[in-house]
C-alpha cells in the first residue's frame, strides 16, 4: 500500500470524528435517546432467566427526573408485582438510596450494594446519564450485530469513570452512527471483570422520539443469567423536587 494512502486510511476515523462530533457529544446524544429530557413516568417489567428457565419477574412503576445540578436521574420507584412486594418503594438519587415498606412504615437507607428487591438494580443501565459520569474515548467504528440480529454501523466508545462513586469502572458502548441509538453496552468492574452486557432493542416512538423499549442484560460471569427489562406506558409526568426526599416516601402513590 502506498504510504500516503495508508496514513490517510489510518487517520480517517479520527478525522471523521473530529469533523463530526466529539466522543463525549456522541455519548450525550445517546443518553438523550435513552432518557427523556423532561420528568416522566414509565412501567418497567423485569423477567429473569437462569439456565434457560424463567425464575423471577417484577413490575415497577417509575417516576423520574433529571437533577439540574448533577444531570443525574432521580427516581421514585414503586413495586407493582409480585404481591409480596407490592407497594414497596425506593427512592434513588445518585447514591442516596432509600427503601420504604408501607406495612412497617420503615424508611431505610440502603447502600448501593444492597439489593432488597431482585434485579431492580439493573435499572441503572437505562436511566443513568453516562455523559455526566464517564469520559468517552472513540475506539473506532465497527459493524456490530444488534439485539434484533440486524447489522449496524456503530461508533465504539470506551467510557472511563470520571467520578469515584459510579457503579462501573469502565464501559464499552456501541452507538449507531447517525441515529445515536445505543446498541450494546459492556459494563466492567475495576478488576477488569465483565459485570454485564446490555442490548438495547425494540425501538419505538415514545415521548417524542425513538427510544429502546427493551433491554436484555446478560450476566458477565454466568451468561445463562439473563434479565429482560421491558419499558411501557411512557408518559410525561410532573415530579416536584419536594417529592424526591425520604419523608415523602410514605405519601408517594403513582396514578
Amino acid at each position: 500500500m502506498n504510504r500516503r494512502l495508508f496514513l490517510a486510511t489510518a487517520l480517517l476515523p479520527a478525522l471523521r470524528a473530529q469533523a463530526a462530533e466529539s466522543p463525549q457529544a456522541i455519548l450525550a446524544a445517546s443518553d438523550a435517546v435513552r432518557n427523556p429530557a423532561r420528568p416522566f413516568s414509565v412501567t418497567v417489567t423485569l423477567i429473569e432467566y437462569r439456565q434457560g428457565r424463567q425464575t423471577d419477574s417484577n413490575t415497577l412503576a417509575v417516576y423520574s427526573k433529571a437533577d439540574p445540578a448533577s444531570g443525574q436521574y432521580r427516581s421514585l420507584i414503586r413495586f407493582v408485582a409480585p404481591q409480596r412486594d407490592a407497594n414497596k418503594l425506593m427512592l434513588k438519587s445518585g447514591n442516596d438510596l432509600w427503601f420504604f415498606d408501607p406495612a412497617s412504615q420503615a424508611s431505610i437507607r440502603l447502600s448501593p450494594q444492597q439489593r432488597l428487591l431482585g434485579q431492580a438494580a439493573n435499572g441503572d443501565v437505562l436511566t443513568v446519564n453516562l455523559a455526566r459520569d464517564y469520559k468517552a474515548q472513540l475506539l473506532g467504528t465497527e459493524e456490530t450485530v444488534d439485539g434484533e440480529k440486524a447489522r449496524r454501523q456503530c461508533d465504539k466508545l470506551q467510557l472511563a469513570a470520571a467520578a469515584p462513586d459510579v457503579t462501573y469502572h469502565h464501559i464499552e458502548m456501541w452507538i449507531e452512527e447517525g441515529s445515536a441509538r445505543p446498541v450494546k453496552g459492556r459494563f466492567f468492574a475495576e478488576s477488569g471483570r465483565l459485570l454485564k452486557t446490555a442490548y438495547y432493542r425494540k425501538f419505538a416512538t415514545q415521548l417524542g422520539r425513538e427510544r429502546p423499549t427493551e433491554v436484555v442484560i446478560i450476566d458477565g460471569l454466568d451468561p445463562q443469567w439473563v434479565t429482560v427489562m421491558r419499558y411501557s406506558d411512557y408518559a410525561w409526568r410532573d415530579v416536584p423536587d419536594a417529592w424526591l426526599q425520604r419523608d415523602y416516601l410514605p405519601r408517594f402513590k403513582p396514578e
Binding site: 407493582v80 447514591n95 406495612a103 412497617s104 447502600s111 444492597q114 427493551e214 417529592w243 426526599q245 419523608d247
Partner: protein
C-alpha cells in the same frame, strides 16, 4: 509445544472467546424473544392468609403447642384526585393447649384518609402507623411505639414494626425542595387497653393526649437527618435525632438518639412513684452488605432509664413476679429492658439457594449477660411462603432473658398471597 503450534493454539483461543461470547449473547436474545409480553397491573390491596404451628418449651421441661390462622390485608386507594384511603387489618385466631385455650385478636392497624391539598401539603385523619427511627433493633425515637403491639407472631423487629396498631391522629405535613416538617396530634380517646377480639383497642394507643413534630433536611446525598419533638399530657417533652450516612458503596452507618426527663423503666413498668430525671436512649450501628447480598448489622443500644446490674439484682431478688411484670411492660413499651445491649442482625436473600431468605438476630444484654436469639428460613414461590423460625432465650437464672418462662420455641408457617 513447538512455537508454530503454540501460536496457532493461542490464535484459535483468542478467536474462540469472542465467538463463544457471541453465541451466549445470541442464546440470551433468543430467550428474550420468547419472554411473555403481559405485564401485571397495580393492585390496591395486598392480602394473605397464614397458617402456623408452634411448639414452645417452658423452663423445667413442659411444652405447649399453639396453632394459629391469620388473615392479613392492606388496602390503599385513591378515591378522588388528591384523596387517598388506607385500611390495614389483621386477624389472628389462636388455639393453644395451655390456658387461655382460645385467643382471637383482630388488630385494626390503620384506617385513615389522606388529603394532598397541594403537591407539598398533606393532611391525614384517622389511625396512622407513624413510625420513626434509623436503627434496626431498638428505636428510641419511635415515640408512638408504646402499647402498639396487640398480637406478636414473631420477635423479628421488622415484623414487630409491621404488626402493630397505629395511633389515631390529625396530622399535617409540609414539604420543601430539601426539607419536610410534619406535626401530629393524638387525642385521648379511651382510658385503658382492651383484650376483646374486635376491639379497636384505642386505650392502648390513645390513652393520653400526645403530640409529635418531625422535621428533616437533606444537606446532601449522604446526609439527611431527622429531628423530633414529642410530648403530651403528663409527659415531659422528649427530643430525638435520626441520622444515617453511606460509607463506601457497601456500608451504611446510623445513629438514633432520644433524650428527655422521665421516670426509670422499673417505676414506669410497675407503676411506682419516681423522680423524673434526664434519661438518654440511643442506638448506633453499621450495616454492611457483601457482594453476595448478605447484610450484617451490628448495633450498640443504650437506655439510661433501664436498670443497671445492682438495680436489676434488687428487683430480681425482691420478686420474680415483679421481674416478669417488668419484662412484659418493657415489651409492651418496646423499650430496651437493660442499660446496655448489643444487637446483631443478619439477613441473606437467596441464601445459597434461589428464593431462600435467611434472617436472624442475637440481642446480647451487656448487664446480666443473657441473650435473646431468633432465626428464620423462608422459602418463597410466586404466591406461597414456607417459613421455619426458631427462638431462644438463654442466660443464668438471675439474668434478664434467663427468667423468660418459655425459653425456646419453633414455628412452621405457610403463607398464601391472593
Amino acid at each position: 509445544m513447538p512455537p508454530r503450534t503454540a501460536l496457532i493454539a493461542s490464535m484459535a483461543l483468542a478467536c474462540a472467546a469472542p465467538a463463544a461470547a457471541q453465541q451466549d449473547d445470541a442464546a440470551a436474545l433468543e430467550l428474550a424473544d420468547k419472554a411473555a409480553t403481559e405485564k401485571e397491573a397495580a393492585k390496591q390491596h395486598r392480602v394473605y392468609v397464614e397458617g402456623a404451628g408452634l411448639r414452645g418449651w417452658l423452663r423445667g421441661g413442659p411444652t405447649t403447642d399453639v396453632a394459629r390462622a391469620s388473615l392479613d390485608l392492606r388496602y390503599d386507594t385513591t378515591f378522588a384526585p388528591g384523596w387517598r384511603a388506607v385500611l390495614s387489618d389483621r386477624l389472628d385466631l389462636i388455639h393453644s393447649d395451655d390456658a387461655p385455650r382460645e385467643r382471637n385478636v383482630n388488630a385494626l392497624r390503620e384506617a385513615y384518609v389522606s388529603w394532598q391539598a397541594r403537591p407539598d401539603v398533606i393532611l391525614d385523619l384517622g389511625r396512622v402507623n407513624i413510625r420513626h427511627g434509623a436503627a434496626w433493633g431498638y428505636n428510641p425515637t419511635d415515640f408512638f411505639r408504646d402499647g402498639a403491639l396487640r398480637s406478636i407472631v414473631s420477635p423479628d423487629p421488622a415484623r414487630l414494626r409491621e404488626n402493630r396498631l397505629g395511633t389515631v391522629v390529625v396530622q399535617g405535613q409540609k414539604l420543601w425542595e430539601r426539607s419536610s416538617l410534619s406535626a401530629a396530634y393524638s387525642p385521648k380517646l379511651e382510658d385503658r387497653p382492651s383484650d376483646a377480639t374486635t376491639s379497636l383497642d384505642l386505650g392502648s394507643t390513645n390513652a393520653h393526649h400526645r403530640w409529635l413534630i418531625a422535621g428533616s433536611h437533606r444537606f446532601g446525598e449522604r446526609l439527611n437527618p431527622q429531628f423530633l419533638l414529642h410530648g403530651g399530657k403528663g409527659k415531659t417533652t422528649q427530643a430525638g435525632l435520626n441520622v444515617s450516612t453511606l460509607i463506601g458503596d457497601a456500608t451504611v452507618a446510623f445513629a438514633e438518639l432520644a433524650a428527655g426527663k422521665g421516670p426509670t423503666l422499673i417505676a414506669e413498668a410497675l407503676g411506682r412513684i419516681d423522680t423524673e430525671r434526664w434519661r438518654r436512649r440511643a442506638a448506633f450501628g453499621l450495616t454492611y452488605t457483601t457482594a453476595f447480598n448478605l447484610s450484617l448489622t451490628a448495633e450498640a443500644d443504650f437506655n439510661s432509664a433501664a436498670p443497671d446490674r445492682a438495680q436489676w439484682d434488687a428487683l430480681r431478688t425482691a420478686s420474680l413476679a415483679d421481674s416478669l411484670r417488668y419484662l412484659q411492660a418493657a415489651q409492651d413499651l418496646q423499650d430496651l429492658p437493660v442499660r446496655r445491649a448489643a444487637f446483631l442482625y443478619a439477613t441473606w436473600r437467596d441464601a445459597l439457594l434461589r428464593r431462600l431468605d435467611v434472617s436472624g438476630f442475637v440481642r446480647w444484654d451487656a448487664v446480666t449477660h443473657s441473650r435473646s436469639q431468633w432465626l428464620e428460613a423462608r422459602y418463597h414461590w410466586d404466591r406461597v411462603d414456607l417459613a421455619l423460625q426458631w427462638q431462644k432465650y438463654s442466660g443464668d437464672a438471675d439474668s434478664v432473658f434467663g427468667i423468660v418462662p418459655q425459653h425456646r420455641a419453633v414455628e412452621v408457617s405457610v403463607r398464601v398471597y391472593f
